[in-house]
Structure formats: structure tokens, C-alpha cells
Amino acid sequence: MLSRLAGMDAPLAILNTENKKGLALISAPLGYVIAMLAVPLAAILLISFWTQDFQTFDTTPTLNNYREAVTDPLYRELLFRSIRIAGLVTLVTVLLAFPIAYFISFHVAPSRKSLWLFLITIPFWTSYLIRVFLWKVILGFNGVLNSGLQTVGIIDEPLTFILYNANAVVITLAHAFAPFAILPIFVALEKIDRSLLEASQDLGESKLSTFFRVTLPLAMPGVVAAVLIVFIPTIGDYVTPRLVGGPDGLMIANMIQVQFLRLNNAPMGATLAVIAMVSVSLIALLFVALNRRYLRGPR
């Protein structure tokens, strides 16, 4: 009853008791997220304007950290590299994921869809650390790939361009975030009314042009979600660059960790974290804005 009324923009007075019960229930998880996320994030923002001398904070507000972060070529390089690698990872992951989502949605019998989805999500739930480490083992100088290829006789010398650089980071992260990209695209594809595709073909489009004129635009909300859900976490990834990145593959998260735990310079770490978050948010907003014509419509 009330959900129906809510749909027709029910006046707030009616919802008063509903309002209270709902807010009472939601207050526990909401309070937790405020205490454990919103307040700490605010603290990070605050500290980024401070300075630290060994263990004590100097709380005089200053922009020095930001000035340093922007001018120091090391920080700049790390930030740009993080954005570049995250962007590349996102591109590779989503491009590889789309055909899989399409295959499961359009060519797998409905009764077997959940089995496929389950198969795809399983690796995601197994220890992230171990998976990244396995890539190091696979891609290494004496690793599985090189030793395997040498045993079979395809190569004589070990391949060196695959470990301890940005390529290795991209491969490893694209692997780690695969299900994150597949699921939202799959959901968007499932929502497409199949008769729309028949209508397009009935109106003279070929299968291929139907894909580009109907299927792809309708799947865009899923693609946008996939891009965001891969891009945002990868930019702050710590384990992968550390294990397989080498010196040229390190990213901003590694520097944040160093500032906090090694150099005892929490304000600088906080500054880098703020800069990273702001950049991610700006890029994400820009991306959504560029795709907004696909995101409209009844949801």
C-alpha cells in the first residue's frame, strides 16, 4: 500500500510513522558508516592541512603539503601513473568482459546462467593476496610462463618485459577485477527487452547494426557502472604494484603507505590520499557526464 503511495509522491505526513520506523532501523548501519567512514575521511582532510614532526602534529593549517605534492615530480609521476594504469586496466577489463557478459546473457540457457555467473565470481572470492602473488610466480624471470615456454622450446631466453613493470600490473589487475566488470554489464544486458532486437531487425537492420544501434546503447548504463567499479578501486591498489610492479610500476597507494608507516608523515600521506580521491571523483564525474545520454530513461 505505502510503496504504491510512495510511487505517487505521497505527502510526507502519511509517512510519518513509516519514516520513524525506517529511520530507526537504518540508524544502526548509517551510524556505523558515519563513524567509521565519514568521520575518518573528514579527519584525513583535516590532517592534510597539518604537519608532523616525528610523533606530534603541528596543527597550524598550511597548504605546504599540497604545494609539495603538486610540485614534487615524484608525487606527480606516481599520481599520473596511477591514473594511467587504472585507466588502462579499466579499458582492458571492460573490453574483455563485455563479450562474456553478452555471451551469458544472450547465448546461455536461462537455467545455466547462474552457474556461469557463479564460475566467474569464484576466483574473485579467493584470497586476493595469493592471486596476485601467483601472477608474480607466473610472470617471473624464472617463473611458470618463462620456464614453461622454455621447456616446450618456444623461447630460448626468458621474457623480461612481463614482470616488474606497468604491464604486469595491468595484467594482474585486469584478472582481479574481471567479475566486477562482468556483473553490471550482464545485469544491463538482461534488462533489454528481446523484442526490441527483433523490432530492429524487422525494421531492416542487420544483426551487427542492431547490436550497435540497439543493444550497445541500452547496455551503456552497465558499461558505465563497470568502468567506475573497476577504475575507482584500482587507482588505490597497493598489493599488485608492490608485488609485480617493480620500481616503474609503483602507484600512489604505495607512497601513501610509505608516508604513513615508514616516514611517519601522516599529513603528507593524507594529502596524497585526498588528492587521489579528488582526482578519482573528478574523472568519474566527467565520465558519467560524458555518458549521461545513455543513463537517462526509466530506471
Binding site: M1, L5, P11, A13, I14
Partner: protein, 360 residues
């Protein structure tokens, strides 16, 4: 004798939205009562108010003489058959039917016996051990009925119980529900948007529009003497013709296409005044005279504009002289009666007793 259910001036507001407007209603013990209306007319809100799932904003509700103000749904002598049936999918059929007996003091064997009886009553003998989620739509409906009736409520509330069934099954369940109600003698209140269903099943029907009861009557009165054009239009098919009232006491009128008529007081509202008005007439209350059939006194001339052949019936749209809108006339396809063609002239006979005057 007092009514079993007595609602007085019940209003329900959702903020600014006035869902029930001053509803007063008395329902007798043993009656099969229907609330009929289009979606959003307040019929379900009224039913849920009786059940205790909604509180009236003002007004009173008495069931069997007891004031229901502040009595929660689980303490009212009412039970409900939900539109979705709400059969608990994690329980067996028997556990569903016996759900309401949990707190009853009777012994386990007695409880099992009453579950068996309830299942037998709805024609599901031997189904007790089945899983609820494996039932068909019709079977779910029966389980919902047995579950609600096992507590021997004073009132059984049915919220569109047949809307999810296909046509054949629906018709079968309609007569079964009627039979069951006579058998148990409990007051049934049925919410439906299907006017045919309401007419077939009910002792009395309340037609609701926009939170108000527009008319409360037995099915025949409702069909033959609707109080307003809106009710006449909602129930069955009705033709409307412009008319002018010449004399409001003797009730003489001029009806477009039909000419001067005099009608009886029960065919007109008590508030009838001289001046422009409207009359309604049902399609089957007029007939087209075929060749060889004896002439009647009241005849109107017209031309057939369209026809729809239904097998047992043919519906004609006839343009009467001096009337803008065509009227619909239904004719039974009896032996020897031809189906007329579009463009044919039609001689339409009618009867003054078939007319209803509306002044709204």
C-alpha cells in the same frame, strides 16, 4: 437486530489524499457483500480498515457490537484471503491451514482433525503433506480459504481473490465460493473490480468511486436502476440519451430519438427537476423488429452503422433519427432471425419501463 459490521462516517486520509470519504455501512450476519469499483476507489483500503491493517482517520467501526478502535488485526474476529494468497512457502499445506491454531488450547489431534476438515471443505482432502510452493494457483486459493476459515471468523475478508486465476477457473471458483459461504454461514466481504463477479456472487454490492459509496443495493436493483450515470456506465453496458423533463411530478419527458415518454417514480431520482436531463437504457432492453414480427406502439427509426457478431448475440450500433451518438442494441441470434447488414434500416422497439432518468 443490530448489524454484524457497522461503519459510521469513516474517513481515511493519507496526508492530503482522501482515500475514504465519510463511508457509512451496515453489513448483516451471513451476508455475501461485495465492494466494487475501479482501482484506486478505496475498496481495498476499506477492507483493510475492517481487517485492522489500516486505522480510520475518524469515524467508528463496530464488529458484532464491539468497538474496533485500537483493536489490532490479530485480535479481530476477521480473517482475510489475500490477493496474492500469501501462502507461507516454507510450510506444508497442513501447516499453512493450521497456522492460526498455534495458540489454541485444543489438543494436537483435535487440531489435526480440524485441519483435515478444513481441507476437505475446500476440496483438498489428502493434500495436507504437500509443500506449499508446489501448488497451482487454484489450489493456493483453496488453501488460503481453508486457512482463513479454520479460525471460524465472524467475517471473512476476500481481497480480489479470483483476479489471478484464468477465466474458466475463475468461474468455477465463483460458484464454489458462493456454495461455501452458504455452507458455513459466515459473512463474506469481497473486494473486486469485476462487476460481473460482484453481480453473480453477492447478496448486496457497494459500488465505490473516489473513496465514496456511490450506490449500495442488491445486484438486480444495481443493474436495473443505477442511481447515477457513473454507476450505470460502470456496471454492464448502458446507452445514454439526452432528454428534457417537462413535468417533474408526473415525470413526463422528451427523449431524443424516442419522443415523449412518461415513466414511473422508481425510474427517476426523487430530486428530478424540470429541464435538461439524461436517460439510460440497456442494449437488451431495446430490440430491432424483423419482418413478420408484430408491430409495437413505441417504435423509433434508425440506420445500422456497425455490428459485432458474438455467436449467441449480435450487437448493433444504430443511428436513431435526430440523435448524434449511435446507440447499442443487442439481439439474441434465435432461429429464423437474420443478422442485419451495415446500412440497413432498423425499426427499434423499446419500453418506457426500461428507461432510467438521471439528473446528475
Amino acid at each position: 437486530m443490530t448489524a454484524l459490521i457497522d461503519l459510521k462516517n469513516v474517513n481515511k486520509y493519507y496526508g492530503d489524499y482522501h482515500a475514504l470519504r465519510d463511508v457509512s455501512l451496515e453489513i448483516a450476519q451471513g451476508e455475501f457483500f461485495s465492494l466494487l469499483g475501479p482501482s484506486g476507489c478505496g475498496k481495498t483500503t476499506l477492507l483493510r480498515t475492517i481487517a485492522g491493517f489500516e486505522d480510520p482517520s475518524d469515524g467508528t467501526l463496530h464488529i458484532a457490537g464491539a468497538d474496533m478502535n485500537g483493536v489490532p488485526a490479530n485480535a479481530r474476529p476477521t480473517n482475510m484471503v489475500f490477493q496474492s494468497y500469501a501462502i507461507f512457502p516454507h510450510l506444508t499445506v497442513a501447516e499453512n491451514v493450521g497456522f492460526g491454531l498455534r495458540k489454541s488450547p485444543s489438543s494436537k489431534t483435535d487440531k489435526m482433525k480440524s485441519v483435515e476438515e478444513a481441507l476437505e471443505m475446500v476440496g483438498l482432502k489428502g493434500f495436507g503433506g504437500r509443500a506449499a510452493h508446489a501448488l497451482s494457483g487454484g489450489q493456493r486459493q483453496r488453501v488460503a480459504l481453508a486457512r482463513a476459515l479454520i479460525l471460524k471468523p465472524k467475517v471473512l475478508l476476500l481481497d480480489e481473490p479470483l483476479s489471478a486465476l484464468d477465466k474458466k477457473l475463475r468461474e468455477q471458483m465463483q460458484s464454489e465460493l458462493r456454495r461455501l459461504q452458504r455452507q458455513v454461514g459466515i459473512t463474506f466481504i469481497l473486494v473486486t473490480h469485476d462487476q460481473e463477479e460482484a453481480l453473480i456472487m453477492s447478496d448486496r454490492v457497494a459500488v465505490m468511486f473516489e473513496g465514496e459509496i456511490a450506490q449500495l443495493a442488491d445486484p438486480q436493483t444495481l443493474y436495473k436502476r443505477p442511481l447515477s450515470r457513473k454507476v450505470g456506465d460502470f456496471i454492464g453496458v448502458m446507452n445514454f440519451l439526452p432528454a428534457a423533463v417537462r413535468n417533474a411530478t408526473a415525470i413526463e419527458l422528451d427523449v431524443a430519438g424516442l419522443g415523449p415518454v412518461t415513466i414511473a417514480p422508481d425510474q427517476a431520482p426523487s430530486t428530478a427537476k424540470t429541464g435538461p436531463a439524461e436517460v439510460g437504457i440497456r442494449p437488451e432492453m431495446m430490440s430491432i423488429l424483423f419482418e413478420g414480427e408484430p408491430d409495437r406502439e413505441t417504435i423509433a427509426e434508425g440506420i445500422i452503422k456497425d455490428r459485432a457478431y458474438y455467436g449467441d448475440m449480435t450487437y448493433y450500433d444504430v443511428h436513431l433519427k435526430n440523435v448524434d451518438q449511435p446507440i447499442t442494441i443487442s439481439m439474441k441470434n434465435i432461429i429464423g432471425r437474420p443478422v442485419l447488414d451495415i446500412g440497413d434500416t432498423a425499426r427499434v422497439s423499446w419500453d418506457a419501463r426500461s428507461l432510467v432518468l438521471f439528473s446528475d
